[in-house]
Symmetry: C2
Subunit: 433 residues, 2 copies
């Protein structure tokens, strides 16, 4: 143990980051910044070439930062045999759900398969991917013991959930406290020491399973609170009340209340997916996660609700949605990012198309509709002008990017469906949905 | 309107506070403090006599404050004809649920019946009781119009939800922002002016119905978040994880997460009751409030869960709950208050008795088990000592008052069921429930 601890202390430990996406890249940047020799692993050729050329694949990370990391010695590779060089291995691969809402750990297991031959004594292996409680023990540990290593004695196994919040200007990788659980006390010690060199505050918990549950709780909390306010949006709209006014007023209570706002659904890699990891695992224990399932049901129904409101609004003008021209504003899943993962805007666009509408979109962060596994649109972002906006039968505000000219939109839209409460004061042409 | 506004401005308006309980007394204190001639109305003889003798009926309000208010001219009465003297009438009566979970507005309507003959031009009437959106319009307004008054012209009608938080040492009546909605713009103006003289920040909303919904949202938010963490307690306990450790660790995330902790159920006049006011009203609009009902179901099942854990823990020692001696620690509904309304501790005690246990309790704030509408125990608070604690087969920590000697309890209890996570580190004699 002293060997790995001293390599961490003097930053001579080589660190391999496995999975170079929204989590792996900021982590590699931070590791490199404090002086660790850092190797990035991925299977995407484009991603590797781009990073090695000093280019950032993520909007909110500047190219200059990648170039700087390259100069400091970082290299991206798809040669997993180089895992043998690493003293520390950190897995940051996606953990999606399959179509039946069952956890898909294939990226984790594929990564373990790739590095298994290169596991050796003295290494620390840490998983950062969000997953069900027990994954580190039940999925990772067997690879380590199969390699003849004794965890806690000559190998260290930890789980430390990523807490990246793309687009958050108040917190960075370094300033977001990091939870760590170890398979044994020695594993916890080594994991804590490693993260303490790159993160201001490390929070040790009693096991990898506890650490896994912490991350799920964080995202379950968000999913349920958003589900609740989405349900209350439906209830209050029926009563002729404006949920945004009500949340704003409730938020003036200085204790006991945290504002959440409704929207056209939930997106991103975390909130729509992670909670169901617990749902799946809970069944093994014979217990149910009813809040998670209710939140999922309500949040997933929101795109239909928005489309229904559009149909209703057009119908009031004697128009059908079929044949109507509709402009979707904002297709990234949240404000000021370019991330399209699970974006509810895309579900809304698909449903509009299914109803027979002619759909266009405008998003300053997404100039061309990207290839997606489940969705396909051959569209490029429309440039907004008074004429363009006025040319559509309906304009739907789905993601409230800062860069939109909201006065221009309000002043020219014939019919504006506001799903974000951006137009609190309303207007004759505005429907709140 | 100028008449009432100038009486508010120079504090010459006589203010009647109807209902002298957890809300009315702090409000009367504050009104009297800024100089309004204040009259308190109630139907309870004892309450009136006590207040007029300068005695506080509430633990967290000192007698001296009542005496001071008396010296400033405050008087309590059950003579509702004195409502005629009042320029401002503020209703602060309870709004419970009946046994079928249907809103019971009988205290509100009884109050309106009592004051109806004395309503007159120039008055402001404000309702502070928590209730369903539409109550002010649908229940109060008819009394006013029946009196021949024109609301917004010669009479002012408002709704302003109370936000009292008994035992909160950080905020007082004055420093908790107050939401106000008026039946007309003139009503809003008069209501806002009145409250602005006693509260630091007044938050105007667009209608009495919006203001009614704000208060419900605040308590629905709490009920659902507590329900969620109670459900997750059950799930994580099955998985062998400690929910308190997990919430503590999640709470280190500096954004997007607010910690709520599980317990033996929910109590007090607000959280178990208010959400169902919306549930009831929503049905009129053909919509459902599924989060509220799920939270209610789970929170109401918590006392049974705690009793079940007690049965399990005793069983492990080969003991039945029948005939066992059990000590309940803390019977007020939350920490450091003496308020017994809807206290989950009482439900736990009843269930223990039903199982055949011999039940005692200790609560520094409740020396004698008070008469309650739905519950009956002839008990006085047990003084805690090593011998007393060790004499019980099981000790249940239900309400974690500051005044308990937690080391004494842990060191002497044979079996300690901790429902509050007070003993984070556990112990051989401790069961977390």
């Amino acid at each position: 143990m002293n060997s790995i601890l001293s390599k961490i202390a003097d930053k001579s430990a080589t660190v391999g980051v496995l999975g170079l996406g929204y989590v792996g890249i900021p982590l590699a940047l931070r590791l490199s910044q404090v002086g660790y020799p850092t190797i990035g692993f991925d299977v995407l050729e484009d991603r590797i070439e781009g990073l090695n050329a000093g280019l950032s694949p993520i909007k909110h990370i500047e190219h200059a930062k990648i170039a700087e990391m390259r100069q400091a010695g970082f290299v991206a590779t798809n040669d997993f045999s180089r895992a043998a060089e690493c003293d520390v291995l950190i897995i940051c691969v996606p953990t999606p759900l399959d179509k039946a809402h069952i956890p898909d750990l294939s990226f984790v297991t594929a990564t373990m398969e790739s590095i298994a031959p290169y596991l050796r004594a003295g290494q620390l292996l840490s998983l950062e991917s969000t997953t069900w409680p027990g994954t580190t023990e039940e999925v990772l540990l067997p690879y380590v013991t199969a390699a003849g290593l004794e965890v806690g004695k000559d190998f260290y196994l930890a789980y430390s959930p990523e807490r990246e919040d793309p687009g958050n200007i108040h917190f960075s990788t370094r300033t977001i406290p990091k939870v760590v659980g170890g398979h044994t006390p020695a594993c916890l010690e080594v994991g804590t020491e490693l993260y303490a060199t790159i993160i201001d505050q490390v929070v040790a918990v009693s096991s990898t399973r506890a650490a896994e549950m912490v991350k799920l709780l964080e995202n379950i909390h968000r999913s349920v609170n958003i589900g609740l306010v989405n349900e209350l949006k439906i209830v209050t709209q029926k009563m002729g009340l404006d949920i945004f006014e009500i949340v704003d007023a409730a938020a003036t209570k200085p204790f006991g209340f945290t504002p959440y706002y409704p929207g056209p659904g939930i997106g991103g890699h975390c909130i729509p997916i992670d909670p169901f990891y617990l749902t799946w695992k809970a069944k093994e224990y014979g217990v149910h996660t009813r809040f998670i399932e209710l939140a999922g049901e309500i949040n997933q129904a929101m795109p239909d609700y928005v489309v229904g409101k559009t149909v209703e609004a057009l119908n009031k003008q004697g128009k059908a949605l079929k044949g109507a021209t509709v402009l979707a504003l904002g297709i990234a899943y949240k404000r000021d990012v370019d991330d399209m993962r699970e974006s509810p805007s895309v579900f809304v666009m698909e449903k509009l198309r299914d109803w027979g509408a002619e759909v266009a979109y405008s998003d300053p962060n997404v100039p061309v509709f990207p290839p997606m596994r489940e969705h396909s649109f051959e569209l490029t972002s429309v440039e907004l002008s008074p004429e363009v906006i006025a040319g559509f039968d309906a304009v739907l505000l789905l993601t409230d990017h800062t860069d939109f000219d909201y006065d221009l939109i309000r002043d020219n839209a014939r019919l504006l469906i506001d799903t974000r409460g951006k137009y609190r004061d309303g207007g004759d042409n505005i429907w709140k949905a």
